[in-house]
Amino acid sequence: MAIMMYWEALQRAHDEELARDPLVIVMGEDIGVAGGTYKATKGLYDKYGPERIMDTPISENGFTGLGIGASFIGVRPIIELMSVNFAWLAMDQIFNSAAKVRYMSGGQLTAPVVIRSPGGTAHQLGAQHSARMEKVFMGIAGLRVVTPSNARQAYGLLKSAVRCDDPVFIYEHELMYNMKGEVPDGEYFHPLEGSEVARTGRDITLFGYNISVHWCLQAAEILAAQHGIDCEVVDLFSLSPLDRAGIKASVSKTHRALIAEEAEAAVGVGSEVMAIINEECFFELDAAPVRVSAKNVPIPYNHTLEKAAVPSSKDVVHAVLKMFGKS
């Protein structure tokens, strides 16, 4: 196992796939000569050249569509959308072309593109650079959505996404690129479906994904040490499809559930997980499941307001204590 940063894990996955298959290309704004805003493509331009490491114009729908078209005839593009906020501009091609082409061609064509994009509230980036769009992508039939919470997943999910025949959207987080973690020394392919138990526990399941897995893990430490509550933490690295069996198994064991998400509650990951709990294991519940979500506001610039808009590990702790009648 090597310790590397999340961005280094992504860079390694890119590099390995580019070296293996001459039809793998990387496209995006500033990903080549400039090395990538978050360094995920650092050094690749010099190694693979401009035909494969394509600095694109600022034309998100255009270059995303171009990558999708190339994928129709066997190219494997890894498209970086610099910020998930800009993915709205590419939504037409993602939604109408990539996700639907297999179905509407009766299985003749597929769009094996990988679209990576970071989102989330970082440090005072304001309303138009702080979106969390995972809820939008996970509602699209024909598109896989995965989201790595650590360097190992960042590496392994990208490796699998490049080789999978389906279009895959990878939701990353602007605050996580410098997070360190263990990554296997050998080649590693992370499954694109399922969930991972990040911490085992008896009393309640905390569901998280991407950055909220870390809030859940921090909250679990505090709850164990200070309140004697033993939390299980389930990492939903696949948002579409969600792991129904994994959700059911954990809730059937702990009989309580909390979902932590950085996005607004409405029509979100939390509401979807709650619906699955209702459908799969309602009678296992000892208490009504709860959501810890962002306020329903465009993210404000002001530091204090920004912090108040999105949840943290503290909010997870409070919500759990409330559920156990301890607050």
């Binding site: 001459p22 039809l23 290309i25 035909e51 394509m54 694109t56 114009p57 034309s59 729908n61 255009g62 270059f63 995303t64 569509g65 171009l66 990558g67 999708i68 078209g69 190339a70 994928s71 129709f72 005839i73 066997g74 190219v75 037409d92 091609q93 109408n96 072309s97 082409v101 297999r102 179905y103 509407m104 061609s105 009766g106 299985g107 003749q108 064509l109 597929t110 039939a141 024909g142 896989r144 490796k159 699998s160 996404a161 080789r163 999978c164 025949d165 389906d166 296997p184 050998g186 080649e187 590693y188 392919f189 992370h190 499954p191 694109l192 479906e193 399922g194």
Partner: protein, 334 residues
């Protein structure tokens, strides 16, 4: 175009006309549902360009007025009609419909229903062809109204920037749905709009298949020789409304009469009769034969084909059993 090919070309254009007219009837009979965008009036465009290209080798992508483009690539008209009937034997197994005709084996990469959507897809196919060192080119057929989408401008810029082997064919039928071009578009001459991107272009009569062929030959040769993208504007007219829900109320009968005198099939027919290559009786016999083929071969096939089964409703959403969905840890299958 070689004189020897012209009789076949006439037959194929007449076939395209009769095929689409029969679609209209089937729609009225409610055998075909949804939206239906027909091609009569524009036959010389797809025909002339595909005569200059290499059907089945070059890659074609287009919008929703796509039946004839698919057939020009080599798609079986029976499978196209069966698709319109929503049958399992259809070109997209009944999942696509009129606006989404695909025949990937013949490099018909599909009809798409978002206006302007195919522009970047066509450029992407061209990128792939360039990477693979193929001598095939990418051909994107779209209407004039698509040029007002952002994808037009984004794609023209990238196609030239990266010198991609893509031919853009603009079938300018003067209307974007029901809005005439001079009411929607600041620069009427579409071929001029790509000059800002450094892309060579031409505008020719789209009603005369000989003229279309000659212009397309120059365009196709340009693209295939590695000189980058080309934009060809064909001036044409659709006889029917934009789709079946369109009563044509926005344009005058005089205009329609004027264009009907420039019918692409009649132009070629009369030219061949004048040259002594065919007689009017030959033409009539050709028509009878086509009508018989459509009724007794194509429609019969569509009528008698099975419906898709509901048990397979969710097939084709994602790949079946992709090995990377649940891979053996540390072991790649591909």
């Amino acid at each position: 175009m070689k004189p020897a090919d012209k009789k076949r070309v006439l037959r194929e254009m007449l076939f395209a006309r009769r095929f689409e007219e029969r679609c209209y009837e089937a729609y009225v009979e409610r055998k075909i549902g949804g939206f239906l965008h027909l091609y009569p009036g524009q036959e010389a465009c797809a025909q002339g360009v595909m005569e200059a290209a290499r059907p089945g080798h070059d890659y074609v992508i287009t919008g929703y007025r796509d039946h004839i483009h698919a057939i020009k690539c080599g798609a079986d008209p029976k499978a196209v009609m069966a698709e319109l009937y929503g049958k399992e034997t259809g070109s997209s197994k009944g999942r696509g419909g009129s606006m989404h005709i695909f025949d990937v084996a013949h490099h018909m990469m599909g009809g798409y229903a978002l206006v302007g959507g195919p522009f970047p897809l066509a450029a992407g196919i061209a990128k792939g062809l360039k990477m693979k060192g193929s001598d095939a080119i990418s051909i994107c057929f779209l209407g004039d109204a698509a040029n007002n989408q952002g994808t037009f401008h984004e794609t023209m810029n990238m196609a030239k920037l990266w010198n991609l082997p893509v031919l853009f064919v603009c079938e300018n039928n003067l209307y974007g749905i029901g809005t005439r071009i001079d009411r929607s578009t600041a620069v009427i001459e579409q071929y001029k709009r790509v000059s800002g991107y450094g892309i060579p272009s031409a505008q020719v009569d789209g009603q005369d298949v000989d003229i279309v062929y000659d212009a397309a030959k120059i365009a196709v040769d340009h693209v295939r020789s590695g000189k980058g993208p080309y934009f060809l504007e064909l001036m044409t007219y659709r006889y029917r409304g934009h789709s079946m829900s369109d009563s044509n109320a926005y344009r005058g009968k005089d205009e329609e009469r004027m264009w009907s005198k420039r019918d692409p099939i009649i132009i070629l027919r009369d030219r061949l009769i004048e040259a002594g290559a065919i007689t009017l009786d030959d033409y009539k016999a050709m028509d009878t034969e086509i009508l018989d083929q459509i009724e007794n071969d194509i429609i019969k096939f569509a009528e008698e084909s099975p419906e898709p089964v509901v048990a397979e409703l969710e097939k084709y959403v994602l790949a079946d059993n992709d090995p990377y969905v649940r891979p053996q840890i540390n072991r790649g299958a591909r």
